[in-house]
Subunit: 109 residues, 3 copies
Protein backbone atom coordinates (compact mmCIF):
# COMPACT_ATOMS: atom_id res chain seq x y z
CA UNK A 1 0.00 0.00 0.00
CA UNK A 2 0.98 3.60 -0.62
CA UNK A 3 -0.62 6.86 0.41
CA UNK A 4 -0.93 9.25 -2.52
CA UNK A 5 -1.26 12.91 -1.49
CA UNK A 6 -2.53 14.89 -4.50
CA UNK A 7 -3.04 18.65 -4.62
CA UNK A 8 -5.21 19.73 -7.54
CA UNK A 9 -7.08 22.85 -8.66
CA UNK A 10 -10.66 23.16 -7.39
CA UNK A 11 -12.03 23.30 -10.90
CA UNK A 12 -10.73 19.75 -11.53
CA UNK A 13 -11.53 18.23 -8.14
CA UNK A 14 -15.17 17.28 -8.76
CA UNK A 15 -14.32 15.45 -11.99
CA UNK A 16 -11.36 13.72 -10.33
CA UNK A 17 -13.48 12.66 -7.36
CA UNK A 18 -16.03 11.14 -9.77
CA UNK A 19 -13.26 9.28 -11.59
CA UNK A 20 -11.89 7.89 -8.31
CA UNK A 21 -15.34 6.47 -7.49
CA UNK A 22 -15.79 5.10 -11.02
CA UNK A 23 -12.43 3.31 -10.97
CA UNK A 24 -12.83 2.00 -7.42
CA UNK A 25 -10.18 4.13 -5.69
CA UNK A 26 -10.93 5.29 -2.16
CA UNK A 27 -10.08 8.95 -1.78
CA UNK A 28 -10.52 11.43 1.07
CA UNK A 29 -10.82 15.10 0.22
CA UNK A 30 -9.29 17.67 2.55
CA UNK A 31 -10.26 21.33 2.55
CA UNK A 32 -7.15 23.20 1.57
CA UNK A 33 -7.23 26.96 1.54
CA UNK A 34 -4.68 28.13 -0.90
CA UNK A 35 -3.03 24.99 -2.16
CA UNK A 36 0.57 25.84 -2.75
CA UNK A 37 -0.47 29.29 -1.58
CA UNK A 38 -2.67 29.94 -4.59
CA UNK A 39 -6.39 30.07 -3.88
CA UNK A 40 -8.70 27.24 -4.76
CA UNK A 41 -6.90 23.95 -4.38
CA UNK A 42 -8.05 20.63 -3.02
CA UNK A 43 -5.94 17.94 -1.36
CA UNK A 44 -6.83 14.27 -1.86
CA UNK A 45 -5.53 11.38 0.23
CA UNK A 46 -5.73 8.10 -1.69
CA UNK A 47 -4.78 4.77 -0.14
CA UNK A 48 -3.78 2.42 -2.92
CA UNK A 49 -2.17 -0.99 -3.44
CA UNK A 50 1.36 -0.84 -4.91
CA UNK A 51 0.28 -2.35 -8.24
CA UNK A 52 -2.34 0.38 -8.77
CA UNK A 53 -0.20 3.44 -7.94
CA UNK A 54 0.58 4.15 -11.57
CA UNK A 55 -3.14 3.98 -12.44
CA UNK A 56 -3.90 6.62 -9.82
CA UNK A 57 -1.13 8.87 -11.13
CA UNK A 58 -2.37 8.43 -14.71
CA UNK A 59 -5.93 9.26 -13.69
CA UNK A 60 -4.81 12.46 -11.99
CA UNK A 61 -2.62 13.40 -14.94
CA UNK A 62 -5.51 12.81 -17.36
CA UNK A 63 -7.97 14.93 -15.36
CA UNK A 64 -5.83 17.68 -13.84
CA UNK A 65 -2.83 18.48 -16.05
CA UNK A 66 -1.86 22.08 -16.65
CA UNK A 67 -3.43 23.19 -19.92
CA UNK A 68 -4.19 26.32 -21.80
CA UNK A 69 -7.72 27.76 -21.84
CA UNK A 70 -8.98 30.58 -24.01
CA UNK A 71 -10.95 33.27 -22.21
CA UNK A 72 -12.24 36.66 -23.28
CA UNK A 73 -10.08 39.42 -21.83
CA UNK A 74 -11.67 41.87 -19.41
CA UNK A 75 -12.84 45.07 -21.15
CA UNK A 76 -10.07 47.56 -21.83
CA UNK A 77 -9.98 50.79 -19.92
CA UNK A 78 -7.63 52.43 -22.40
CA UNK A 79 -9.88 55.29 -23.51
CA UNK A 80 -8.21 55.58 -26.89
CA UNK A 81 -10.05 52.29 -27.62
CA UNK A 82 -13.67 51.30 -27.40
CA UNK A 83 -14.25 50.67 -23.68
CA UNK A 84 -16.14 47.42 -24.26
CA UNK A 85 -13.54 45.89 -26.55
CA UNK A 86 -12.61 42.39 -25.41
CA UNK A 87 -10.42 39.81 -27.13
CA UNK A 88 -9.48 36.16 -26.55
CA UNK A 89 -6.50 35.42 -24.27
CA UNK A 90 -4.91 32.11 -23.36
CA UNK A 91 -4.56 31.40 -19.64
CA UNK A 92 -3.04 28.39 -17.91
CA UNK A 93 -5.43 26.29 -15.78
CA UNK A 94 -5.25 23.04 -13.88
CA UNK A 95 -2.11 21.40 -12.59
CA UNK A 96 -1.44 18.76 -9.95
CA UNK A 97 1.31 18.08 -7.41
CA UNK A 98 1.62 14.51 -6.12
CA UNK A 99 3.52 12.83 -3.34
CA UNK A 100 3.58 9.02 -3.08
CA UNK A 101 4.30 8.09 0.55
CA UNK A 102 5.37 4.71 1.93
CA UNK A 103 3.07 3.16 4.57
CA UNK A 104 4.14 0.97 7.47
CA UNK A 105 0.64 -0.21 8.32
CA UNK A 106 -2.77 0.08 6.70
CA UNK A 107 -5.81 -0.80 8.77
CA UNK A 108 -9.57 -0.65 8.44
CA UNK A 109 -12.05 -1.18 11.26
CA UNK B 1 7.94 8.27 16.04
CA UNK B 2 5.21 7.50 13.53
CA UNK B 3 2.54 9.68 12.00
CA UNK B 4 -0.88 8.03 12.17
CA UNK B 5 -3.37 9.38 9.61
CA UNK B 6 -6.87 8.31 10.66
CA UNK B 7 -10.07 8.95 8.72
CA UNK B 8 -13.19 8.46 10.83
CA UNK B 9 -16.89 9.27 10.60
CA UNK B 10 -17.90 12.69 11.99
CA UNK B 11 -20.26 11.11 14.49
CA UNK B 12 -17.29 9.38 16.16
CA UNK B 13 -14.77 12.21 15.94
CA UNK B 14 -15.74 14.15 19.06
CA UNK B 15 -15.55 11.05 21.24
CA UNK B 16 -12.25 10.03 19.68
CA UNK B 17 -10.79 13.52 20.17
CA UNK B 18 -11.77 13.37 23.85
CA UNK B 19 -10.12 9.95 24.21
CA UNK B 20 -6.91 11.24 22.61
CA UNK B 21 -6.74 14.05 25.20
CA UNK B 22 -7.58 11.65 28.05
CA UNK B 23 -4.84 9.20 27.05
CA UNK B 24 -2.24 11.92 26.36
CA UNK B 25 -2.03 11.56 22.56
CA UNK B 26 -1.51 14.74 20.58
CA UNK B 27 -3.85 14.82 17.60
CA UNK B 28 -4.58 17.42 14.94
CA UNK B 29 -7.98 17.41 13.29
CA UNK B 30 -8.26 18.31 9.61
CA UNK B 31 -11.51 19.34 7.96
CA UNK B 32 -12.21 16.68 5.39
CA UNK B 33 -15.19 17.14 3.11
CA UNK B 34 -16.34 13.75 2.03
CA UNK B 35 -13.82 11.42 3.58
CA UNK B 36 -13.39 8.59 1.16
CA UNK B 37 -15.88 10.53 -0.94
CA UNK B 38 -18.73 9.96 1.49
CA UNK B 39 -19.91 13.04 3.37
CA UNK B 40 -19.04 13.67 6.95
CA UNK B 41 -15.59 12.35 7.71
CA UNK B 42 -12.78 13.77 9.80
CA UNK B 43 -9.05 13.22 9.33
CA UNK B 44 -6.79 13.10 12.37
CA UNK B 45 -2.99 13.39 12.33
CA UNK B 46 -1.45 11.81 15.41
CA UNK B 47 2.27 11.92 16.11
CA UNK B 48 3.15 8.98 18.32
CA UNK B 49 6.18 7.14 19.70
CA UNK B 50 6.71 3.69 18.16
CA UNK B 51 5.87 1.84 21.38
CA UNK B 52 2.45 3.56 21.58
CA UNK B 53 1.30 3.02 17.97
CA UNK B 54 -0.72 -0.07 18.85
CA UNK B 55 -2.46 1.85 21.65
CA UNK B 56 -3.54 4.54 19.20
CA UNK B 57 -4.86 1.94 16.78
CA UNK B 58 -6.73 0.15 19.57
CA UNK B 59 -8.27 3.44 20.75
CA UNK B 60 -9.51 4.22 17.24
CA UNK B 61 -10.83 0.68 16.79
CA UNK B 62 -12.66 0.88 20.12
CA UNK B 63 -14.31 4.22 19.34
CA UNK B 64 -14.88 4.14 15.58
CA UNK B 65 -15.43 0.57 14.34
CA UNK B 66 -18.13 -0.14 11.81
CA UNK B 67 -21.23 -1.29 13.67
CA UNK B 68 -24.90 -1.79 13.09
CA UNK B 69 -27.43 0.77 14.36
CA UNK B 70 -31.19 0.38 14.39
CA UNK B 71 -33.16 3.32 12.99
CA UNK B 72 -36.78 3.83 12.12
CA UNK B 73 -37.29 3.67 8.35
CA UNK B 74 -38.59 6.75 6.56
CA UNK B 75 -42.40 6.64 6.04
CA UNK B 76 -43.47 4.49 3.12
CA UNK B 77 -44.96 6.10 0.04
CA UNK B 78 -46.46 2.86 -1.17
CA UNK B 79 -50.12 3.89 -1.15
CA UNK B 80 -51.31 0.31 -0.68
CA UNK B 81 -49.90 0.75 2.86
CA UNK B 82 -50.56 3.33 5.54
CA UNK B 83 -48.47 6.32 4.46
CA UNK B 84 -47.09 6.89 7.95
CA UNK B 85 -45.99 3.33 8.53
CA UNK B 86 -42.37 3.16 9.68
CA UNK B 87 -40.40 0.15 10.87
CA UNK B 88 -36.95 -0.49 12.35
CA UNK B 89 -34.05 -1.00 9.93
CA UNK B 90 -30.41 -1.79 10.62
CA UNK B 91 -27.88 0.57 9.04
CA UNK B 92 -24.12 0.45 9.20
CA UNK B 93 -22.39 3.38 10.92
CA UNK B 94 -18.85 4.29 11.92
CA UNK B 95 -15.72 2.86 10.39
CA UNK B 96 -12.11 4.03 10.31
CA UNK B 97 -9.28 3.90 7.79
CA UNK B 98 -5.75 4.25 9.14
CA UNK B 99 -2.33 4.77 7.65
CA UNK B 100 0.78 4.52 9.82
CA UNK B 101 3.57 6.54 8.17
CA UNK B 102 7.30 6.44 8.90
CA UNK B 103 8.89 9.76 9.96
CA UNK B 104 12.42 10.88 9.22
CA UNK B 105 12.40 13.77 11.65
CA UNK B 106 10.07 14.97 14.36
CA UNK B 107 10.58 18.46 15.77
CA UNK B 108 8.82 20.80 18.13
CA UNK B 109 9.64 24.49 18.58
CA UNK C 1 12.38 15.21 -1.85
CA UNK C 2 10.69 15.18 1.52
CA UNK C 3 7.19 16.15 2.59
CA UNK C 4 7.23 18.45 5.61
CA UNK C 5 3.96 18.47 7.58
CA UNK C 6 3.95 21.51 9.87
CA UNK C 7 1.25 22.38 12.41
CA UNK C 8 1.45 25.99 13.58
CA UNK C 9 -0.73 28.45 15.48
CA UNK C 10 -3.12 30.50 13.32
CA UNK C 11 -1.60 33.76 14.48
CA UNK C 12 1.72 32.73 12.89
CA UNK C 13 0.37 31.14 9.72
CA UNK C 14 -0.01 34.26 7.57
CA UNK C 15 3.56 35.39 8.27
CA UNK C 16 4.88 31.87 7.65
CA UNK C 17 2.96 31.59 4.36
CA UNK C 18 4.49 34.91 3.24
CA UNK C 19 7.97 33.67 4.14
CA UNK C 20 7.43 30.44 2.17
CA UNK C 21 6.56 32.49 -0.92
CA UNK C 22 9.48 34.88 -0.38
CA UNK C 23 12.00 32.01 -0.05
CA UNK C 24 10.56 30.02 -2.97
CA UNK C 25 9.08 27.10 -1.01
CA UNK C 26 5.82 25.65 -2.28
CA UNK C 27 3.41 25.13 0.57
CA UNK C 28 -0.21 23.97 0.74
CA UNK C 29 -2.32 25.11 3.66
CA UNK C 30 -4.92 22.75 5.10
CA UNK C 31 -7.81 23.90 7.26
CA UNK C 32 -7.27 22.25 10.60
CA UNK C 33 -9.88 22.70 13.25
CA UNK C 34 -8.21 22.34 16.57
CA UNK C 35 -4.63 21.49 15.72
CA UNK C 36 -3.44 19.15 18.37
CA UNK C 37 -6.94 19.58 19.74
CA UNK C 38 -6.43 23.23 20.66
CA UNK C 39 -8.39 25.72 18.57
CA UNK C 40 -6.79 27.78 15.89
CA UNK C 41 -4.05 25.80 14.21
CA UNK C 42 -3.05 25.51 10.58
CA UNK C 43 -1.39 22.56 8.84
CA UNK C 44 1.07 23.19 6.03
CA UNK C 45 2.29 20.58 3.54
CA UNK C 46 5.63 21.57 2.04
CA UNK C 47 7.34 19.52 -0.67
CA UNK C 48 11.05 20.19 -0.49
CA UNK C 49 14.34 18.90 -1.91
CA UNK C 50 16.51 17.08 0.64
CA UNK C 51 19.17 19.80 0.70
CA UNK C 52 16.60 22.46 1.64
CA UNK C 53 14.83 20.59 4.46
CA UNK C 54 16.89 22.30 7.17
CA UNK C 55 16.08 25.72 5.67
CA UNK C 56 12.35 24.98 5.89
CA UNK C 57 12.70 23.85 9.51
CA UNK C 58 14.73 26.97 10.37
CA UNK C 59 12.13 29.23 8.71
CA UNK C 60 9.33 27.62 10.73
CA UNK C 61 11.35 27.83 13.94
CA UNK C 62 12.10 31.51 13.31
CA UNK C 63 8.48 32.43 12.65
CA UNK C 64 6.50 30.12 14.90
CA UNK C 65 8.46 29.22 18.04
CA UNK C 66 6.74 29.18 21.39
CA UNK C 67 7.36 32.53 23.07
CA UNK C 68 6.07 34.61 25.89
CA UNK C 69 3.72 37.54 25.24
CA UNK C 70 2.62 40.14 27.74
CA UNK C 71 -1.10 40.85 27.84
CA UNK C 72 -3.28 42.83 30.19
CA UNK C 73 -5.20 40.49 32.48
CA UNK C 74 -9.00 40.46 32.26
CA UNK C 75 -10.61 42.71 34.90
CA UNK C 76 -10.75 41.16 38.34
CA UNK C 77 -14.10 40.19 39.82
CA UNK C 78 -12.72 40.02 43.33
CA UNK C 79 -14.92 42.66 44.95
CA UNK C 80 -12.36 43.45 47.60
CA UNK C 81 -10.44 45.08 44.72
CA UNK C 82 -11.40 47.71 42.18
CA UNK C 83 -13.45 45.79 39.58
CA UNK C 84 -11.66 47.38 36.65
CA UNK C 85 -8.16 46.64 37.90
CA UNK C 86 -6.08 44.95 35.20
CA UNK C 87 -2.39 44.07 35.24
CA UNK C 88 0.14 42.64 32.78
CA UNK C 89 0.45 38.84 32.55
CA UNK C 90 2.78 36.69 30.47
CA UNK C 91 1.12 34.09 28.28
CA UNK C 92 2.71 31.51 25.99
CA UNK C 93 1.91 31.87 22.27
CA UNK C 94 3.05 30.22 19.07
CA UNK C 95 4.62 26.81 18.78
CA UNK C 96 5.07 24.41 15.89
CA UNK C 97 5.05 20.63 15.49
CA UNK C 98 6.83 19.21 12.43
CA UNK C 99 7.02 15.85 10.75
CA UNK C 100 9.49 15.25 7.92
CA UNK C 101 8.19 12.35 5.79
CA UNK C 102 10.08 10.31 3.21
CA UNK C 103 8.63 10.33 -0.34
CA UNK C 104 8.77 7.48 -2.84
CA UNK C 105 7.68 9.56 -5.81
CA UNK C 106 7.15 13.25 -6.45
CA UNK C 107 5.28 14.26 -9.62
CA UNK C 108 3.94 17.41 -11.15
CA UNK C 109 1.58 17.56 -14.13
NI1 LIG D 1 -14.75 8.43 -16.50
NI1 LIG E 1 -12.45 7.35 28.11
NI1 LIG F 1 10.96 37.78 5.21
Amino acid sequence: MKLVVAIVQNQDSKRLADEFVEKGFRATKLSSTGGFLRAGNTTFLVGVEDRRVESVLALIKENCSTRSQTMMSPPSYDFTLESDLTYPVDIEVGGATLFVLPIEQFRQF
